[in-house]
Subunit: 298 residues, 4 copies
Amino acid sequence: MKAGFIGLGNMGAPMARNLIKAGHTLTVYNRTRSRAEQLQPLGANIAETPGGAASGVEALVTMLADDRAVEDVIFAPGHGVIDSLPAGAVHISMGTISVGLSRRLSETHHGKGQHYIAAPVLGRPAAAAAAKLFIIAAGPGGQSKRCQPLLEAMGQKTFFVGEDAPAANLIKLAVNFLFSSMIESLAEAFALVRKSGLDVNVFLGILTGSVFNLPVYRNYGAIIASDIFEPAGFKLSLGLKDNRLLLASAEEADVPMPIAGLVHDRYLAALAQGLGDSDWAAIARIAYQNSGLAEAAK
Amino acid sequence: MKAGFIGLGNMGAPMARNLIKAGHTLTVYNRTRSRAEQLQPLGANIAETPGGAASGVEALVTMLADDRAVEDVIFAPGHGVIDSLPAGAVHISMGTISVGLSRRLSETHHGKGQHYIAAPVLGRPAAAAAAKLFIIAAGPGGQSKRCQPLLEAMGQKTFFVGEDAPAANLIKLAVNFLFSSMIESLAEAFALVRKSGLDVNVFLGILTGSVFNLPVYRNYGAIIASDIFEPAGFKLSLGLKDNRLLLASAEEADVPMPIAGLVHDRYLAALAQGLGDSDWAAIARIAYQNSGLAEAAK
Amino acid sequence: MKAGFIGLGNMGAPMARNLIKAGHTLTVYNRTRSRAEQLQPLGANIAETPGGAASGVEALVTMLADDRAVEDVIFAPGHGVIDSLPAGAVHISMGTISVGLSRRLSETHHGKGQHYIAAPVLGRPAAAAAAKLFIIAAGPGGQSKRCQPLLEAMGQKTFFVGEDAPAANLIKLAVNFLFSSMIESLAEAFALVRKSGLDVNVFLGILTGSVFNLPVYRNYGAIIASDIFEPAGFKLSLGLKDNRLLLASAEEADVPMPIAGLVHDRYLAALAQGLGDSDWAAIARIAYQNSGLAEAAK
Amino acid sequence: MKAGFIGLGNMGAPMARNLIKAGHTLTVYNRTRSRAEQLQPLGANIAETPGGAASGVEALVTMLADDRAVEDVIFAPGHGVIDSLPAGAVHISMGTISVGLSRRLSETHHGKGQHYIAAPVLGRPAAAAAAKLFIIAAGPGGQSKRCQPLLEAMGQKTFFVGEDAPAANLIKLAVNFLFSSMIESLAEAFALVRKSGLDVNVFLGILTGSVFNLPVYRNYGAIIASDIFEPAGFKLSLGLKDNRLLLASAEEADVPMPIAGLVHDRYLAALAQGLGDSDWAAIARIAYQNSGLAEAAK
């Protein structure tokens, strides 16, 4: 399929690579051009503007960090996606953006005779590289089917959750909330275990050797147990961004989410300690500090 | 091995059964005698007092609901375990009790020349029946080894966590905290998903079909999604009891555990709605109520 | 002084009235014209547009409900305040708006050679009518002095907090946070007292007869004790708005404010019960409900 | 009146002094005898045991730090109050103890033909010295009347709250909760104000110069603004004790009190930083730390 791809960060770059490997013809755009050039040897064309990546394609994928980045490429006056994407083509929005922006994109594309699918992903860069992402997709049924070859090239499984695109974004935010809640819970439990003089690794071994035998518990458990949060797999500042989008959706729906509020405060405290570029699991540091635990005796 | 067993509730009865099946000679005591009589056909002897179950045995297992029940059978004046258990024999305490009582038991038994192992379990009645419990054991190394044939008859795996018996109780409480935190998190996420007009079962299917592919997420997720919390697998009032014991340990160690505090409030609100005998997952009902969600459209 | 006044709601109308009484020449604008007409007999001129209230005046007062209302009158294309206020004149912004908008107003007015003072108030409609408001003012020193005759006509006391206008808005939001926190605390205490079978009015009498001998405790205490929250003195939906602005400022400053987060959840739960138009003290209803207390036996 | 007095700490000593000044005949007991000896020159008799202070008196006042201290003097085998207080005499329990212990005392005294009044106080040592305490009293009506001359010698006002003695203790705990909640709220607001570059003393001046014009706001506000919490007016460890008693009563009544839970976590965090002997307002330190504020630039 002839496709465009915008956003070649830690996630986007391997995803684009997998699309090329699967035989799709790709035109890529990235604000920092050098990251686009790295895909040239594989056969990618380079666009000089967001609109350039969208013109003449059947599908355009965006994989960008936040709402503003998406707005910038879609609505850039004169050279934005919205003015270049052919009528009948589909925009597949795969970053974690707000439910509100997703709705706006859905409506705006519709008004231009273009299609829109929200398809945020679960998984870290390694999963992206291995084409093992989980994809949560929503949008008009026919378009979802049409995009399937692209999604299959990037993920191990796609969950279609209906015709209303923003639903996929809400679900993605809710999943991230469950991760952050798991991280905070582990942090509190580890603080108690450490402060009681026990070995958190023994505790973690019990968890993952019995009822919580799951990669996410093993991976995050190990990070939190080590009390080392750099380099970041997923930046704390992005975790706060997702938390903020979740709370906005919760507020719109009049749904109190006290754990989400508590995690929000942890993010702010972590930012206040300068941990914005650390892994989002660094909210554990606040649980440790408030327990009087010095940083891990490494 | 010649052993005693006290506490034949939903968990204790199948555990005792498995000990008999494995060839051990059992003398059992239960406050409600009829439950003890049910084991007679299998070859169990019935004791008329706690002390009767302890006298002449090599090991005595207790599987009781709370601190008070344990204190009652151990310290019952005249016919308690403490006065009947032979010197050199070992008390294996398998219920979820406080760290403080576990320490007291450890010291008191030691003073009598008896031994003490704390060995709380993870798993519900079905797992107990299938001898698939996970056992967290702590106490003097030699005694742990000595008890292994008994533990192996009841569980699929034993984690030894050191010589200090109360450590096992602390870890068990911390695991239960992680369960309750998972339940509350799911409840908040489900409230948001429901209130946003989406199907929680679709959401749950995504969770368990991707990153949270685990029986505990599947089972509790299904209960919370159904908004039906009876009959109880594990009673809410017992969940509160464990939460209270955890908070007591956290307080003793000067460790703030905000999610544990939040869950505590959920338990109280649920009790105030008369949900004490419902499953502990019924704290989800409060998240639903505070979101203005009527009970599930079943 | 020749002045304009925009926003004649429950607060604005009596404030404008007091300005006229003090001898100032007023041109007023209100979206619903009939409210402006009520001031005509007192001598007010009526403007047909926001800009009409601003043209030719020395000072323009706005007393509007939220950021959007302020943006609408200031930036209305063609007939907004920003294009009509004379250079050298001053905009006195007295509603509770965000720190961010206050900064933007400060900068935009400055760019037009106009002046800007933020002067939010403490007090309810009765205090506004009695010219007993407390005013928190910030902005260029000379302008503050210049506006003093106007402020004195509306309030009993003005606190000048410096040259940076948005500081006044931040302080106002922080004061409102203290009110909401007091309300939630009283609600929790009253729930305990009621559920323990004691009379909350006796309890309230002790509070206000000893260490909390203060009108705000007496007034809000009486409302919460009665469990009757209509008609609203200050609407719950506006309380949520102020809470949201506070949390935005806290987030910008990386300051976790857990009580503010908790109160936020109470607002959402109250909205979910349809209490948006009740008094903001109706967050007490959630504390009562979560305690299993039926509505007050009135 | 012939009376006994047990507990001559920072509060008890001036209270006893005021009783003597008012003409009552006092026999005093204190664990550390030297503190009792200081009252000898004023005419106090010294008892060698708690029972000694109770024998032959018409009324016995206890002013002790916690439940354990009260249990120790009342139930001390052989020389406790319970065995020495004459039938018909009354025990006035003025310390802040648990509702549960108050109930037990009420019943035990009743069983001995003795009377019991709970009469906890509001006020700090300076108020005790000036006989300006507020007293919350409950118990049999006739006994309350009988004790009035004693209470009037120690306080400026007594609130009688009914015949059920423990009600006074519950109310006292609820008042202390309101204090701690006020402290935490101020701390959060001050953290925001400080972090935003404003002067907290200006902010505090506005509060106490307008709607929160009250000694408790002035005094605690000044302490929190200074970020200096030593010497303690009321120790943080005692604040935690009262908070714990409140939460126990809330738990007994199935009343969730989220702010009380939040304050509880602040106490633990403060203890973990070694602030147990600082003023209870030192929970503000945690709000500052979590905001990334170094200790006050003094």
